[in-house]
């Protein structure tokens, strides 16, 4: 299709896009003991480049203590037909500081520059929100899930920005009975948004007190929204199967009603869909068993902190941050996933203490898949305080980025032996890398109208 705006006409067009040559990942010093700002790292992922598998640029944030975490674009394929839009700005929220950093990645993609900062204090005073997490663009507007009010108490709400990054106020008309916020994804053809639940910023920011799960300080519900009315209309109580329901993904196919959520502590994948009678249904489709750790008296949960769906909707990828494995499931039949690939990198079970000669502190945590489904880039840090609890050695070793080669036809995963980025060797000392994005869009940023 001859067009005009950012992204691709359809998921099948996205799959045919040129291979990524650069990727961006955030790297943090917050909570590490190094008194430097967090930064956006540009990683060279072009095998033909002399600087392949290296950090080639670092954009520091203006101050310390942001805890950069997830990111999002100002525009995606939902603006494909809008010639006035372009995928130019990456939005980098600071979970702890509440600052939003708007970064221009288009003027020089190898060396992104800071375009604008929306101060955390301004967001608090205008909207009574804090704890920014997921960023999605909605046509030409942007909404960000904010996990708390200005005092860090749940449930927070949604911050609405216009395309000039001016604060428009709260996006939602009501939070209904929602107790917590976290991630969200929407499927406009079905007028639905689904949101998940972590906890109040004041609960999760200081670290993970497992006992607080029993005191209902962490979430266990999924919420279905009337997207146009901007209010929740139905909630599913997932119970013990859905403790800490975090990442939410719909199929990329805009006609599909199937979606998935990873329940981190239960280490389950929850699947939902709309049945023939027009009712939303859910079921648990993957249940990762706890593992026995050689020195632990109690079994160790996987802790599935992220999930991702390939652009062709054929594979679901998940991590077990504490076990140390990444898995690939064929979800061609979303009710009956089939495990087709698994690799270990780090983790507490000692199955892969080093990868390509680099000691891995942490386990597989965030990941981004190439549009063609062949390259999965995986990082190891979850959140500074949680890292410090489970993997204290990450303070000296820093995070790593690993590339896993995936077979999108027959299934299968294998660590790429030519690629590793050791954030333990950064010029200012060991930092921790987290979410990654590609300049041309990726498997977690685009939604089709």
């Amino acid at each position: 299709m001859e067009c005009c705006g950012p992204g691709y006409a359809s998921p099948s067009d996205a799959i045919k896009a040129p291979r990524e040559k650069l990727l961006y990942t955030i790297a943090i010093y917050t909570g590490t003991g190094i008194q430097k700002p967090d930064y956006l790292a540009t990683v060279d992922v072009d095998p033909d480049s002399p600087t392949y598998s290296q950090v080639i640029h670092r954009l520091e944030m203006p101050g310390i203590g942001d805890e950069l975490h997830h990111m999002g674009w100002n525009a995606c394929s939902s603006c494909f037909e809008d010639e006035n839009m372009s995928r130019k700005y990456l939005i980098l929220p600071g979970v702890r500081s509440n600052n939003l950093h708007i970064v221009d990645t288009a003027t020089d993609p190898r060396a992104p520059r800071l375009h604008k900062v929306i101060e955390g204090a301004q967001i608090k005073s205008q909207t009574n929100l804090s704890g920014p997490h997921t960023v999605h663009c909605l046509g030409s507007e942007i909404i960000i899930s904010m996990l708390g009010n200005a005092k860090g108490e749940a449930p927070g709400g949604y911050l609405h920005l216009d395309k000039e990054f001016e604060i428009q106020g709260r996006w939602e008309n009501s939070m209904g009975d929602i107790k917590f916020g976290y991630d969200f994804w929407y499927q406009p053809r079905h007028n639905v948004m689904v949101s998940s639940e972590w906890a109040a910023p004041n609960t999760f920011m200081p670290g993970f007190d497992l006992e607080e799960v029993g005191h209902l300080k962490y979430g266990r519900e999924l919420h279905f929204w009337d997207f146009e009315a901007r209010e929740p209309v139905e909630s599913f109580y997932l119970g013990e199967d859905g403790l800490l329901p975090l990442e939410v993904k719909f199929h990329h196919d805009p006609d599909s009603t199937h979606g998935f959520c990873g329940a981190a502590l239960s280490t389950n994948v929850i699947h939902w869909w709309k049945n023939d009678a027009g009712k939303w249904q859910w079921e648990k489709i993957i249940d990762v068993e706890n593992e026995q750790h050689p020195d632990w008296p109690i079994p160790l949960p996987g802790v599935m902190s992220a999930i991702l769906i390939s652009m062709d909707d054929k594979y679901l990828y998940l991590n077990n941050w504490l076990h140390g494995d990444m898995r690939q499931y064929d979800i061609s039949d979303p009710h009956n996933p089939v495990l087709t690939g698994q690799v270990f990198m780090g983790g507490l079970l000692g199955k892969a203490p080093s990868v390509n000669g680099v000691d891995v502190a942490g386990g597989p945590q965030m990941f981004q898949l190439s549009l063609d489904g062949k390259r999965l880039y995986v990082t190891t840090s979850l959140f500074s305080t949680w890292d410090n609890q489970f993997y204290p050695e990450i303070r000296e070793k820093g995070g790593v980025m690993v590339q896993i080669d995936c077979d999108p036809v027959n299934g299968g995963m294998k660590i790429n032996e030519d690629f590793i980025v050791d954030f333990g060797q950064e010029p200012n000392g060991p930092s921790r890398c987290h979410e990654a994005r590609y300049p041309g869009g990726d498997c977690t940023s685009d939604i089709w109208l």
């Binding site: 917050t30 590490t32 310390i64 920011m205 200081p206 007190d209 607080e212 300080k217 305080t385």
Partner: protein, 132 residues
């Protein structure tokens, strides 16, 4: 104006004068002490330091559980000195701040203040709690 002396034990015992009415973080930073911080309202633990001697008022903090408080941690972005104090600062002071929650559970009285049970006051009470 009441002032107190802050001694930073792990910075060669450097001393600073602080106003008793303002939070320690901003006053120490104003005097050039390089301190970690994040939320700046007492909710995220990034600015925690260990109080070795003296007293602070940190009623506004919501980041620490009772075990962390018992181990001497204070939240500098909201804590005010109520006497002369000695602190250890930065992550060098965080040896007891983080624990693996699967291996080292909190007792009911060690949870955060809003959900903690009262601390058992005698050895008999502790014995009962174990049996229970």
């Amino acid at each position: 104006m009441t002032t107190h002396t802050v001694t930073i034990a792990n910075r060669e015992s450097a001393t600073y004068q602080v106003n008793a009415r303002r939070p320690l973080l901003e006053q120490l930073r104003d005097q050039g002490v390089d301190l970690p911080y994040g939320c700046e309202y007492g909710g995220c633990i990034t600015c925690a330091a260990k109080l070795v001697e003296g007293e602070v008022d940190q009623r506004r903090q919501v980041a620490l559980n009772n075990r962390q408080i018992d181990n001497g941690y204070v939240i500098l972005c909201v804590a005010r000195a109520t006497s002369d104090i000695t602190l250890e600062i930065g992550v060098d002071s965080h040896d007891k701040l983080y624990r693996n929650p699967f291996l080292d559970p909190l007792k009911p009285h060690e949870l955060k203040a809003d959900i903690a049970m009262p601390q058992p006051s005698s050895s008999k009470a502790i014995g009962q709690e174990k049996e229970g």
